[in-house]
Each structure stands twice: as structure tokens, then as C-alpha cells.
Amino acid sequence: MGAWAITIHGGAGVDPNLPMERQEQAKAVLARCLEIGITALRSGAVALDVAEMVVRELETDPIFNSGRGSALTALGTVEMEASIMDGRGRRCGAVSGLSTVKNPVSLARLVMDKSPHSYLAFSGAEDFARSQGVETIDNSYFITDENVGMLKLAKEANSIMFDYRVPIDNNTKNTCGASAGSIVNNSIDNTTTIQMNGLPISIYAPETVGCAVVDTQGNTAAATSTGGLMNKMSGRIGDSPLIGAGTYACNLCAVSCTGEGEAIIRATLARDVAALMEYKGLGLQEAVDYVINERLDEGKAGLIAVSNAGEVAYGFNTVGMFRGSATQNGFMEVAIWE
């Protein structure tokens, strides 16, 4: 009998000027979702069910911008994607291009359990959702005024990217940001801008949530869900639904990633953590550190992971990552910065 462990994230790449109130709200939601997972694990739930249930909570809560409050595509629409993987047998399910499904991670699970395939997208995925009777709602539900405004700013920023001025105020009492991150120098007026995915950090909002968990039987599971990237091209698929990139689980570990999707795909980040453990014999934290330091090149990303031995680990090279973790021996933590 092993020890359970669970770790969750609400996205990497956080505005260092995020008001303290928002930070506390985020931490409260992370704590609440973690508790849901902990309770389930204590009562013997299997990892796969816990991963799905916790990500559903993270999707539903509006603070983390997946599901309701998702980022908008360049066309002003919402396209959500998710994936889930069961470490036992490495079964997996994924969906992309959802526009009416309330809980993408649950549809991904149904693809895995109830279809002959592993990955369904766009209208085919929507049809499948209806045939399975999952909860759907009009696309307008997912679109918030705040994000309509953000989209406009993102479009403007893209066209005047190197002239954008975002003051980084390290003296503000309301923030406790770290200063890591991709810093772009504005040669016009000598200010600096932290960027993620090509957007100034004040506009970029981390869009991904995820969970990696191991149960008392030593089975692992991981799930990741996202609204995508602000101002992305319609039809753009990121790392979250790609097995091996944003999500991975096997008998050794489970991993969920977040950050610059293209960098995560190129690095097959989630799979690499497991591959280092499997083929090179590295421990969980060693493997996590290695991929974050060596595999991302210029990219910015973060990830959470658990091992089948009940360990938790995380790593990120971004400015912060919303995260939380707990282990059977009583350890529990919720954090944003380094």
C-alpha cells in the first residue's frame, strides 16, 4: 500500500502586480480544490476519478479562467481543450475546440472510456458531447466582458508590442512578485516588460488548470484543461490536449504542464519527466528540475508532478505559478511565487 499525494495548478505566468486580494482569492480556491481531492483520496478514491473531479472544480470556478472566463480567440469566440491520462495502462482521452461543453475534462474522460478513440475535436467532439448527454450551454456563457476587453488590449499590444509600457512596481505593498520571467527591454523609453506567449504579463492570464495525483494503490493520473491563449488563431491547438506535452501519466509518475504551449509541445515536457525517470533512473524532483532547466530553451512554462511513491514536485521558469499540493503524511501547501 502506498501513500497518496496530490498536486494541482491554476496556471503559470502570473502578473507580479496582481492585487493582493486576487492572490488571496486564488489561494483560497486552490485550497478548496485541494481539500476536495484530499477527502476523496482519504476515502480510497482512485487517482483517475480524483484527477477528473478536482479539474472539474478548477474549470468551474471562474477565477482560473478555464471554462467560464476562458481566453478568447482572435474571432472573439471560446475554444476549450483538455486531456486526461490514467497511469494504469496509460489510457488517455483528449478534446479540443469545445465551445459549449461546461466541463471539458469530463468529456475527455468520456472519449477515453466511451469511444474507440483517444482524441476528438471541434464539431465531432461537440456532437459526441451531445450524444453522451454531458452538460452543455450556449457559447456566450463562457465569454465575459472582462475578456472581451482583454482581447482588445491583446490585439493592440500585438500591433505595438515593443512600445508597450507596463510599469513593474516592486515597491507596491499590494504585491509580492518575483522578478523572474522573460523581460523585454523597451529601447524607446528604457522601461521593461515581462512577457508570456508574446503578450505583456498584465494582459496575459494563465489559462490552464491541472492536477496530478497518486492514490493509495500507487496508481497515478493526470488531467489538464484550458481555455487556450488570448487572441489565438481560431483552430489553434496548444499543449493541454496533447499527450506527452501538457499531460502524461504512467506507472512511475503523473505530470500536468502549463505556460507557453508551443514551447511545451516542442519539449514534450510531460513525457520527458517520465522518460528521465524511466530511462535514466532520475528521481521525481531531479527529473522535473532537469526538464525545466534544460528542455525549455527560450520557452516559459511550469509543471506539477507526483511519483508512484507518494512524492510531489513542481518546477517553473515563469513569473509564478498558481499551485497547491498535499501528501498523506500531512504536508499541505498553496503558493503562487517562488
Binding site: D127, M233, G261, T268, D272
Partner: protein, 321 residues
């Protein structure tokens, strides 16, 4: 060291009784595509260009399941996907759900080079293709009578197949196997991989397989380039293409050892791959009955084959050509 190229037209339960009139055109296409690829490498074209041009040829051939000749979804439509990756930069491009783009692999390349993204699907991909002036055509162009037949049979048997007829009529069995792909390395060790497919016969609309999933069906880095084929769902969970490179790097295995190791890890009957290493080695393992394949290396070796036996291989003195 030296250049090397390998290509495939799909792995699967290719019946050894495959009729001559079905086998000959496929073998001829493999030979022709191999020559094209070899000529391009000899002319010092970049591996990325070489794999794209070879896969375009394979897509245009109606006998393979990619581009023209793609198998049909359960609705009788065509949904093609492709992926291309450059080993040096690990830049990649992928596309899914296109039904009018003549050469999906070329669209994947345009996505890689002309957008901030890696992967576009369905309507968004189609719209982008038009915006970029990529060649599109009526979707009927891709549909062949053979594939209409295959779909009918699959529905009759209520099955999703890897686009070839199963034992029920194996004698008449045709082999429109999974996927097409090409991997290449030049004399300087630069690598590239490309894969393209129509997917599974009778697949659900919107089904995405391993081909466009970087690390599953397609992968290239500084060590090797890999293109996989077979049952997509198995290739995805085994992250086949990525694992060949990972096993080389983290376990120190050679290309051939790594490729065999990874194919052995997939349940029998479900996968095959072609791979080249930065040193100009080639590997083409499969755990299915057969795999349409061809390869050539700078030292003059070349091979065209389908099953384990009757492999046609040659040694040509390349210094003369």
C-alpha cells in the same frame, strides 16, 4: 556519417496474398519517392525540404492513405492530418481536420513558418489555408472508389479499421495502410521528419490520431528523426516517436536498438516506424504483418519492402551517380 532517408506507406496487417495489381503500383510509388528523396539529398537540399517533397508525392498517390486516397470518416467525408518537424530547432507544424487542402504536409509547414502556433485544426486550418493561398480543391478529389468500398465493409462489420480489409475477405484484401511518412538526414547531420494521413476507416468525425501529435507519430531532434504508423491510439499512449530519441539519449542505445525497443513496447500488431540518426543510420522496425517501406543511405545501400521476406535491396556505388 552521410545522408540517409527512409519512408513508409503504412504498417498493418498487409495480407501476404496481396494481389499483384494492388502491390505493384504501391511498390513502384515507394521506389519513385525514394529516388526523388535521394536525388534531393544528393543535390544538397535541406532535410526539411526533402521530407516535405517526398510526403507530398505520397499524398498525391491514391494508393496510400494520405491526401488523395485518404480513408473516410463514418460520415463518408475526408479529414486529413499531418505534421512536420525540424530536428535542429525542434520547430514543428501540425494540422488536423482538413478536407480540401491538396497537400496537408505543406500546410503543416506553412503553419510552422508563418504563424506563432504549431497546430491548427478543422475550420481554423481550412481558413488559414485559404488565407495563405495554399492549394485547395473540391473534397471529392481525395475520395477513391476503393475507400468508399472500405467504409461500406467497415460499417457492415460495425468496425473501425486501420483502413485495410480484415480477415473476412482477406483474399480480396486491399492494403490502404495507416499513414505515409518520411525521415531524412543530410551529410551534416541535420534531421527532419514528416507524416501525413487520412486516419482510420469509419473513424468518428473529429477523431485525431497520432500523426499530428508531436512526440507520438512524428518527432525530430538533434539525435534522430522518426515517423510512426499503425493504430494511432496505441502510438499516442506510447509516445512512440519521442521515445526512440529519449531511449537513445537517456539509455545510450543505438538508433536500431532504440527503435526496436520502442516498437516492442507497443502491443503486437499495432505499430511500425521509420527512423534515421544524425550519423546516417536507418531503422525500420514494425510489429505488424508488414509495412510499406523504403530507405537509402549514402554508402549506396537501398531497400524497398513490404514484409520480412522478399525485401528487395541493392547496393549501388553512389560515387558514380
Amino acid at each position: 556519417m552521410g545522408w540517409a532517408i527512409a519512408l513508409h506507406g503504412g504498417a498493418g496487417d498487409i495480407p501476404v496474398t496481396l494481389a499483384e495489381e494492388r502491390r505493384a503500383p504501391r511498390e513502384a510509388t515507394l521506389r519513385r519517392c525514394l529516388s526523388l528523396g535521394v536525388a534531393a539529398l544528393k543535390a544538397n537540399q535541406a532535410p526539411l525540404d526533402v521530407v516535405e517533397l517526398v510526403v507530398r508525392e505520397l499524398e498525391n498517390c491514391p494508393h496510400f492513405n494520405a491526401g488523395k486516397g485518404s480513408v473516410l470518416t463514418t460520415k463518408g467525408t475526408v479529414e486529413m492530418e499531418a505534421c512536420i518537424m525540424d530536428g535542429n530547432t525542434k520547430n514543428c507544424g501540425a494540422v488536423s481536420g482538413v478536407s480540401t487542402v491538396v497537400n496537408p504536409i505543406s500546410l503543416a509547414r506553412v503553419i510552422m513558418e508563418k504563424t506563432p502556433h504549431i497546430y491548427l485544426g478543422f475550420d481554423g486550418a481550412e481558413a488559414f489555408a485559404r488565407e495563405q493561398g495554399v492549394e485547395v480543391v473540391e473534397t471529392s478529389h481525395f475520395i477513391t472508389q476503393e475507400n468508399v468500398e472500405r467504409l461500406k465493409q467497415a460499417k457492415g462489420a460495425n468496425r473501425v479499421q486501420i483502413d485495410y480489409t480484415q480477415p473476412i475477405s482477406a483474399v480480396n484484401g486491399d492494403s490502404q495502410i495507416g499513414t505515409v511518412g518520411c525521415v531524412a538526414v543530410d551529410g551534416a547531420g541535420n534531421l527532419a521528419a514528416a507524416t501525413s494521413t487520412g486516419g482510420l476507416v469509419n473513424k468518428m468525425v473529429g477523431r485525431i490520431g497520432d500523426t499530428p501529435v508531436v512526440g507520438a507519430g512524428t518527432y525530430a531532434n538533434h539525435l534522430c528523426a522518426v515517423s510512426a504508423t499503425g493504430k494511432g491510439e496505441f502510438i499516442i499512449r506510447a509516445t512512440v516517436a519521442r521515445d526512440v530519441a529519449a531511449v537513445m539519449e537517456y539509455k545510450g542505445l543505438s538508433l536500431k536498438e532504440a527503435a526496436t525497443y520502442v516498437i516492442d513496447s507497443v502491443p503486437k500488431g499495432n505499430a511500425g516506424l521509420v527512423a534515421v540518426s544524425t550519423n546516417g543510420e536507418v531503422a525500420m522496425p514494425y510489429n505488424t504483418t508488414g509495412m510499406f517501406r523504403a530507405c537509402a543511405t549514402e554508402d549506396g545501400y537501398s531497400e524497398v519492402g513490404i514484409w520480412d521476406t522478399e525485401v528487395e535491396n541493392n547496393f549501388v556505388d553512389n560515387s558514380k551517380s
